[in-house]
Every structure is written in structure tokens, then in C-alpha cells.
Subunit: 364 residues, 4 copies
Amino acid sequence: MTRERLEEIRAQLDEINLEILELLSRRAELVQEIGDLKKRKGTERFDPIREKEMLDRLVAANPGPFDDSTVRHLFKQIFQASLGLMEEEKKELLVSRKKRTEDTVIEVNGVRIGGGQPVIIAGPCSVETPEQMDAVGAGLQQHGILLLRGGAYKPRTSPYDFQGLGKKGLELIRKTADKYGMAVVSEIVSPSDIEMSLEYVDVIQIGARNMQNFELLKEAGNVRKPVLLKRGMSATIEELLFAAEYIVSRGNTEVILCERGIRTYEKATRNTLDISAVPILKQESHLPVIVDITHSTGRKDILLPIAKAALAVGADGLIVEVHPEPSVALSDAKQQLNLPQFAQWMEGLKASGYLPKQEPVPVK
Amino acid sequence: MTRERLEEIRAQLDEINLEILELLSRRAELVQEIGDLKKRKGTERFDPIREKEMLDRLVAANPGPFDDSTVRHLFKQIFQASLGLMEEEKKELLVSRKKRTEDTVIEVNGVRIGGGQPVIIAGPCSVETPEQMDAVGAGLQQHGILLLRGGAYKPRTSPYDFQGLGKKGLELIRKTADKYGMAVVSEIVSPSDIEMSLEYVDVIQIGARNMQNFELLKEAGNVRKPVLLKRGMSATIEELLFAAEYIVSRGNTEVILCERGIRTYEKATRNTLDISAVPILKQESHLPVIVDITHSTGRKDILLPIAKAALAVGADGLIVEVHPEPSVALSDAKQQLNLPQFAQWMEGLKASGYLPKQEPVPVK
Amino acid sequence: MTRERLEEIRAQLDEINLEILELLSRRAELVQEIGDLKKRKGTERFDPIREKEMLDRLVAANPGPFDDSTVRHLFKQIFQASLGLMEEEKKELLVSRKKRTEDTVIEVNGVRIGGGQPVIIAGPCSVETPEQMDAVGAGLQQHGILLLRGGAYKPRTSPYDFQGLGKKGLELIRKTADKYGMAVVSEIVSPSDIEMSLEYVDVIQIGARNMQNFELLKEAGNVRKPVLLKRGMSATIEELLFAAEYIVSRGNTEVILCERGIRTYEKATRNTLDISAVPILKQESHLPVIVDITHSTGRKDILLPIAKAALAVGADGLIVEVHPEPSVALSDAKQQLNLPQFAQWMEGLKASGYLPKQEPVPVK
Amino acid sequence: MTRERLEEIRAQLDEINLEILELLSRRAELVQEIGDLKKRKGTERFDPIREKEMLDRLVAANPGPFDDSTVRHLFKQIFQASLGLMEEEKKELLVSRKKRTEDTVIEVNGVRIGGGQPVIIAGPCSVETPEQMDAVGAGLQQHGILLLRGGAYKPRTSPYDFQGLGKKGLELIRKTADKYGMAVVSEIVSPSDIEMSLEYVDVIQIGARNMQNFELLKEAGNVRKPVLLKRGMSATIEELLFAAEYIVSRGNTEVILCERGIRTYEKATRNTLDISAVPILKQESHLPVIVDITHSTGRKDILLPIAKAALAVGADGLIVEVHPEPSVALSDAKQQLNLPQFAQWMEGLKASGYLPKQEPVPVK
């Protein structure tokens, strides 16, 4: 008999489920109508006071057996789902795959970032001297590198550390890049420098410490120049996407996301490379995703396997720091490859089939 | 006219809300009946296949405007709430305030832990020699300390580090405690030692590394002796409560929770004391909560302010490591107070009104 | 005989120790002389190439038994210590206690921050409407609050969230503060707004996301107005001090440090309040240190014990968010106290003796 | 003239460097002699009291310009280096590459773990029913899987969650494995079960929560059966190696290290896969290293790219959870692949060249 009663109850439950569904749907239609009315009037659609009233009324009428907090919870879910209907057009981010299914491909200096072939962005941590830049330019050119990085503005923990050459640094890297047929990737740290930088850089880098410097993001959104946006030291994947949205929503659609390691308790590496972020970002967004293997590890000795992992997981490119004489570098001395190490690293990467063959860039 | 229509829709929504509530309540009663039937039959109440069927049926019948995933989401919430009803008696943990509103008070050696007056548990990291233990016992006795801590079994990162004196250590701390009228708090690391330890210890300590050593927790739950349970290095507050539940659910209701810092990126302290955990634990559970100020900071120089903070936030007691000659200690040399430092610390704490006056323990 | 030989060796070791010391000291004097020479010439004192040469020469001459890497390590330590001598005047930060032993006291609106009596900074998360600000001003005035906070520029994760009223918000909070005899604490997010803000705010707040926005820090260092600097979400204590140094080294010595919780795995609180940071900062720096209890916990239900803990640990003040109607607030709705809750909180705090009696501010 | 004086000083510095080196070397030889003497006598070689005396004497004799704390620091470095000499034979761990340069290869069921070809360990989170195990065994056998995982003892956060079938579970997985020609990998949680388990399992798994359950490690070290040791949720790479050393130092040299993600603030994945740990472990240790891709991500949707990354970075194998009907699984329902998903995953992995072709296992 128990079994029979069980079947009976189940049939009733199915019935009730459908009735609830019907009511929910009718309710939703009414809410949509409110949304339209409010839209015409230009009123904010979410009305917390009205919501509070409805909840109070429901709790007052609650016959049990649910306790009041459960009733509140369930109806909040229902209200929220309805609100979702009202705000449908708003809720998907422009950077989201749901808004745009095909990959964004960003072309810089003939290189297609996000176009299927991984790209290498290489160069010193800081732009220091003409000799240093020329040495690194000549060295990288041998390996077909087309994207030259180098910091002119260096955000440093201490105000007494070398802060970069500033505009003089931008001039220097531009000159080097021009000589060796490369494009310039360089960090800008001040909203008021974005405009000026357009003359010197081909890709504006926004560093980890500035990922939520929203004024800088807004300025970067106002220009039409690719932006390489690094994930903040303790930013979530979601926060990185929102930061990119600040740029894209202003009209600058060419944003390259960069995973560069997050801060954790582990000290064997400078940061902890969150490799899973790459496929998640690729899935949730149409923007290209690259990995800064130097900052995420801070260790030269594992750069080859980490580069392979980053490409295997689907990254559209890598950033790697290269300096002609790392031991005398003015910043990040320990983690930069010298030119022979870079050559060896490139060879290792090519040997394992992760990189297409690259010809030396023809010098102009 | 818009305004009128808005009012009209709102009235309809209120109507529908109440209809949904009525259906949800009828539904809930039926689910309760199923729960009773299943209980009699001894079947598991959660039936994922049945749930899947119901969801599939609803989605098939979905008339819009909600999309299918919203329908699934809302009904999952409804099912879950109903399941909550079925499992009402199970869902509240025994350690929860909802199960028992008054504070659990644990009496050890005349000291009431959780009884409103904060307690001090002091002693060396490791039990080392009779001389060391006697010195520390005599020193602490001067300050009215009634709870003596000291490790006989030391879980150490390296197998080559000093692992404690084992049973000989337990004998030694017992002897010292007896001489100076104190109770013994000492860590046990192996399930098979719990039984044996009852002869020597008054409070069984379970260390951070063993917070989720469930076999050890179960054995500790099988005896009738207070347990001091330390939060794991990266355990959430919720996981600590579940770990305590392993003990309490076996019948041993005397558990003292201990916040001892969590592992974060910050290296200025050995761990990061999660001070907020104390009031949250006190709110969610009726068990006493103490703070290990030595392990959470690993720094002698801030032990006085941290002790004040722990007591101000509502902790029922403190653990502090004291060693007659810290510089030659076999473990944690740098963070243990010596006896004059301990005296100064006690004085500072009393001066600020956080501790009741304590008389020296009368020596037997 | 073993014993005798042991004594003999020990005597020899003591001898050698002193000889090494003498050589190290002579060496250090020479290095100081180099420092002076270089200073006169204006050359950079650290010379990595020269250091490399010296190390190579030592390794080449290494007779054992130390292996080469140990020799390198020991001499690097020696070189570094010598370099310390050369840079003596540089190495202590201006914010350090070693540079200034007495506490920095910052006077705002007659309130002395860092002067021994804890201060309360209260107000809504965002400045929203004249009615809201007037209600909160009137409410806080009843409790003698002299420092009114409220955000006009809101750094928000999503570009679509309410971003604050901007300059209009500054005008509004200024007006409210003037009416109720209070000073204004408000966040500025753009370097180019610092100058303009001086007209409206009495304390410039720099938020957690901008703690390493060095351009903003530099601008804040260029004005003469107190700055409230919040610790970044995953900043170390040392990084916070360096960020303050950016401001102080530009001549603005009035910086208030603010602990506001760090990002960890624990989700029971919005952030993890790093209470140990307070006494460490007080020890290492002469600047006042306050605690933002609202953002560090994100939970109203533990604000009273946490406030007690923060004051007990030695904080110079607290920030707490108060809104006349939190449920309709445009940001941080869940964590703001309403006015009756604030009154209760103040009462609890006073009752426990942590706060001096405060008279209502006389309305102008 | 400055230039000349500079050259002069530099020559003197070189001279002094060599004199210091000579003294350090003589000193080191004496310390070695002490070490030998003590070894014969069986005394502990590190003598903190003697060290303190030497430091005090040096500070008393300090002529400057170094301050006393620098003198202490430098000589502590020198003492420590000397101590290193005394303990030379002890300091390298057995698990270290420095102790053994060639890779440890562990053969199980004809599979060589660590032998160059990556291995796949697959199976359900929990052993549940004969039907479930048979389905999964048959399914995996199609893909040539030779190592079957499945939990009989399940360490669960809540005492009320399904705790595994225990010994009955071991019997079940053994039977399934035998039928399909596979070896058994299963977790043991209690030291007293290790002995018993030898009859059923081919590889003893020690889970993340038990990585520092040293009693369990010791027991696992006492038997002669391969051990798969998972990294603790917040364990450092160094702590994982020490945990392995507990096992190896007892004589059981067959340990497989397993990276399974660490606990961080990021919630997009269940844990954060620390991919850099793999090459670091491979560099520092000769033991095989595998990656548990299921627990490190907790997301089915990125298992293919993550598997590729793990193999590209040099992992010796992967663990992946597979269940015939994940939605009704008693644990980890959301993250287990069903059999068609597993087939697709294998295909993807083979297509990208990371896996050798695998023939179905011949059924006995």
C-alpha cells in the first residue's frame, strides 16, 4: 500500500509542478509588461521597496510547512528570474561569447593574435639603454619575433626603485622596433598618457596592478589601439572580464586578455600560474588570451615546460622577458632570459611542435 | 494610463504570488508525506532520477517566457527546499546553536572553559626534559595557570626533525602538571593512541594538520574526554564545524574549537589570524572557542595586542607557548616566550582588564 | 682526549672569528670610502658587474671545503651588508618608526587621528540623494560623529554598476558635512581629480583597488591634505608601507593607513580581516592605523565584536558604513548598518569602555 | 685622482676578500673536525648555546662600521654554512634528484609510471554498486585503461555524507579490476588498514587531507606497495616532498606524487591547478608526478585542454574520474565524466598526439 500511495503522491506532485509552472509563466509575462512600461517612462526597473512589500505579504500569508525564510528565499529566486527577463538586453557582456560567437582576431604588424597561430611577445622588463635595446632587437629578430615588449613606465613597489625612462623609453623602444621591423607592446600607467602613447606603441599594455584602475581602463577604451590587459594579482576570472568590458564598452573592441599568475601562499614560484583560467576565458569570451610565462613563474628554469603547457591549453600567445645581460638589468634581474637562453627556449618550443617555423624578420 | 495599468498588473502579481505560495505549500505537504513513507521503508530520501524526470517534464511543458535553464533553476530551488523539509531533523548539526542555544561549558581542573571567564593554556611547544618541564611548571604556577600544554607527539614537516618524546613525554608532562596542580593539554596524532592517552591527558588536542583526519576524529568521539580541535591550515569555518561534528556525533560533546591562523600570501606573520572566525563560530555553535596566539602570529612582539584582540572579540581563552629557554628549544624556537616575557605579557593583559586576577596555584 | 681537542678547536674558532670580523670591518670602511667617492661623482653605487668579477675571482680561488655556491652565498651576504652601509641614509623609509619615533597625529575638524583616542569615521557607501545624506548626517550627529564618509566616485567591478555621482556627490557630502559640523572623507580615483577635490574633502581616501595606482599616489603626495590609504586586496604589509612612502616622499606627511581585509579562500566573510597587521604597522610605522570593519567582514552581525577587537589591538580608529535605508542602497546594500543598528553598535562599543563618551556635534 | 683612489681601494678589497675566504676555509675545516668528533661521541651537532656565546663575543669586539645586528647576521650565515658541512650527509632528501639522478619508474600491471609514456588512471569517485563498477570497468577496458581508481574509504567533510563502502568496496573494485585486467588504485585513510589493504589494492592512494597525517605516511612507508601521494590542499611543494620522504625513508621507495590543485580565492574552479608544480617536482625529485585533473578543476568542460597542458608540462600521468551515471553518483556528482564523455576526451587527447595509441585490454 505504501508503494501505491507513493505513486499517487508523485502523480499529484507532477500536476502541481505544472500548475506552478503555468503561474510562474503568467507572472513572468506580467513582469515583462511592467518592464516595457518602465522603459517607456525611463524608470529604474528594480524596485526594492515594492519587492519588500510583496515578500512581507507572502510571509504574512504563509500557511506552512515551509518556514518564512524559505518562502522569502524561494520568492526572491522567482523575483530575480523575472528581473532577468526585464534586463535581458543588458545582462550579457560585450566581451562574452554569448554576444559574439566567433573569435576576435587582432592584427598587429601582420601578426594575427587570436587567429589560431600562437604569437610570441618578447623583450626586456625595462627599456634601459640604446645598446641594450639594440642588442635585444637584433637577437629577437633572428628568431622571427615581430612583437617587442619593454617597459618605459615601471610601476614599482618602492618609490626609490628605478621607475623607467618614461617617454624617452617609449622613443627608444619605438626606434628599435622600427629598425628591426617589429611592433611595440608597452605599459602605460596614467590615464593622461594614453593619448600621447599612441604615437609610440602598437599595443597598450595595462599591468596587473592597474587592472582595476578604472580611469585608466576608460581612457584605453576611448582610443582605437589594441590593449593587452593583464589579470590583477588577486583578481578573479570574472573581474578580469569586467575590466575588459570597461574598455570594450567604450568602443575599443581590440582587447587581449593576459593570465600572469595569481598571488597564493606557494613561494616556489613568484606567482601561481592559473592555467585553468585560459580555457575558461576562451570559453566565456571571444577575446584572445595569452600567458605571461615570466611573471607567472618568476623562474627561468621551468619556462620551457610552462610555455608548452600554455600553448597546449589553448593560449593564443606567450609573453617572455629577454634581456641581453640579465644580471645587470635594472628590474627583474633574476627572471629574464639572456639571448642564448632565449634561443634555446625557442628551439625547444619549436622542436615540440607548438610553434610554426618562424623566419628572421627582414630588417628594413 | 500607464500608471493605472501598472497598478493593475501589480494587483495581479500579488494574486499570482499567493496562488503560487498555496501550491508550493500543498506540494510541500505531499513531499513531507513521501518523507514519512520512505522513512518507514528506510529508503534514501533524495532520489536524483525522479528529480531529473520531473525537471525534464517541466522543461517539455515550458510555455515561456522563462528559458529552460531558468525553469530548471527555479524548480531545483523548490525541490531543494522541499528536501529540506524531509530532512529537517538531520540538517542541523549537533554543534550548531540551532540545536542547543545555551553555551557548552567544559570543566577541566576546576576551570570552566566557555563559562564567561577567559582561560589561559600555556606551556612549551614540545616536552623535552624534566628540567625544562619543571622550570616551566614552576614559572606558570606563579601566575595561576591551571592548564599546561606541551607536545609529546610532534607532527613535523620533515621526518628528520625532532618528533617528540612520545609516551615518555606524556608521562613527563603528567608528572609536572600533578606537581603544580595543573591539567594536561597535549596533542595525540594516532587513532590508536587515543585510548592510551586518557591516562595522561585531561584535554586531547587535535592539531591543525589532523583536523580532517577523520579516523582520529572518530576515535576522539568515542571517548569521554574534552577535545581541543584546531582549525586546519586552510580549512573554512564550516569545515571546522563539520570536523567537530564528527566528534560530537559519536557522543563526545566536550569539544573546544581553536582558531590558529590560516595560510595566506602574507608572510609578515606565520599564519593570518582570522579574528572574525571567533564571533562567527560563537554565533553558529554553542561550543567554546579559543585562540592560539602563538601559531597564528609566529611573532612574540605582537602577542600582547593580539591577546587583547582575541579576548575583546569574545574568545573563551588563549593558547600561548612558553619555554624556559626558547633559544635552545627543539621546535618553534623563535616564537615561544621565555618566563620573564610571559610574566610581562600576563601583567599587560591583566592591566588592560581582560583577565580576572589569578592567584598562584597552591602546590600540592 | 676528544674533549681536549674540542676545547682546542673552539679556541681556534674564536680566534678566527675575530680575525674575520676585523677583516670585514676593514673591508666595510673601504666600501664606505667608495660610497663617498661615488657620491661626489654622482655614480650609481651598486655595480653588479664589479660584484660579479669579485665573486668569480673568489670562486676561482676557493680551496674548499665549502662548495662554490656556498662561497658565492656568503660573499653576497657580505657585499650586501656593505652596500647597506653605502646606502645608509636611503634605506629607512620616511614612514618608518626608525626615521621618526613619535606617533604622527593628524588633526581633522578638531579630531586628532593617532592621538590616543580612537576615532569613528561613518557614513554611507555611496552618496546618493540629498535626503539620504541629510538623514545620515542628522543620525550620525546625534552620536557625536565628526568624520563623515561617503563615496562620490565608486570604483565598481562592472562598468554597468552605479559609478557614483561624481563631483555632484562631492558637493552633496560637503554640504551635509557643513550643516552637521563634520569633516568629509571621500575617495578620489583619478590623479587629475586630486586638485579639484581639495575644495570638497578634508581627507582624501585612496581605495584598495588603487593602493598601487602609483600615479594617483604621487598626485596625493603633491598636495597638503590628509590621505586615508587603504591596503590593497592582496597587498602585503610591506607593500602598504611602500605605497604610503610614495605619498610621504613627495612631502605630504599626513597619511592614515587602513587595514580593510585581504582576499583569502574563506568565504564566510567578504574579506579576511588581518588583525595582526595593525600592531605590526603601528610598530613599523609612526603613521596612524585604522580598520574598516565593514569591508573587512561584509557582515553586519559581527561588527560589534570586530570593532572591539580592532580597538583592543591598538587601532586609532574605525570606518563603518551607515545608510538610512540599506535595503535600497545603490551599492553594498547588505553590509551597511541602518541608523538604529548604528546607535546600538555605538552603545555596545561605549558600554565596553572602548570609546570615550561623545557628545552630539553642535549643529551650526 | 678619484679614479685612481677607486682602483686602489678595489685592489685592496680583492685582497681582503681572499684573506676572508682563506679564514673561512680554515674555519670550515675546524668545524668539520668538530663534526667528526661529535659523531664519534654521538652528540647533537648543532649547539645553540655555544653559538650564542660566539655571537656575543663578536658583538662585544665589533669595531664598526657594521652595526651589531649586521655582525650577528653575517656570522649566523657563516655558522649555518659550516653546520651545512657537518650535516652534509643528512641534508639531501632521499626523494631528491641530488640523491638519485635517474627517474624512478614504478611498474604496476605492466604499466611503467614515470617511464616516459603518460598513464591514465580512471574510474569513479566512489565504489558504489557491482553494476556501477562493472559498467565502468567495461567502459574503460574499451580504451585500454589499465589502472582503475575508485574510493572505498571516502574522507568527507560532513560525518553525514556517504563515507564509502569500506572493505566491501575494496572487494568490489578488486573483482572488477580482475575481470577487466586492471590494477587497483584506492585510497586508504587509516594507518591500521594499510596492512589489510595490500590484498586488494595495487597502488595505495593517500589523499590530500591526509598528506600530513604522518602516522599514515609511516605505515605506508613500512609496506612494499606503490603509494600515490596527493598534495595537500594548501601544502607547499616542499611540504609534499617532505611528506614523500616520510614514506621513502621507511624503505618504500615507490611513491608517485600527485598535483591536485591548491586552495585559493578563485572560485571559477574547485581548486587552482598549480601547473608549475609539475616541472618543479620533476626537477627536484626523481619520483613520478601525475596530475588529478578532476579535483584540480572540478569542471568537466575544461578537462581536455587541462589534460593536454598537464602532459605538455611533463606529467607522467593523469587521474580522471569516470562514472557510468554521474548525476546519481553518491559523491562528486557534477565533476565526473560519463562514459561517452570519457570516450570523447580520450579521442581528443589521442588526436592531439599526447597519448600513445592504446589497445583495449584483453579481458581475462
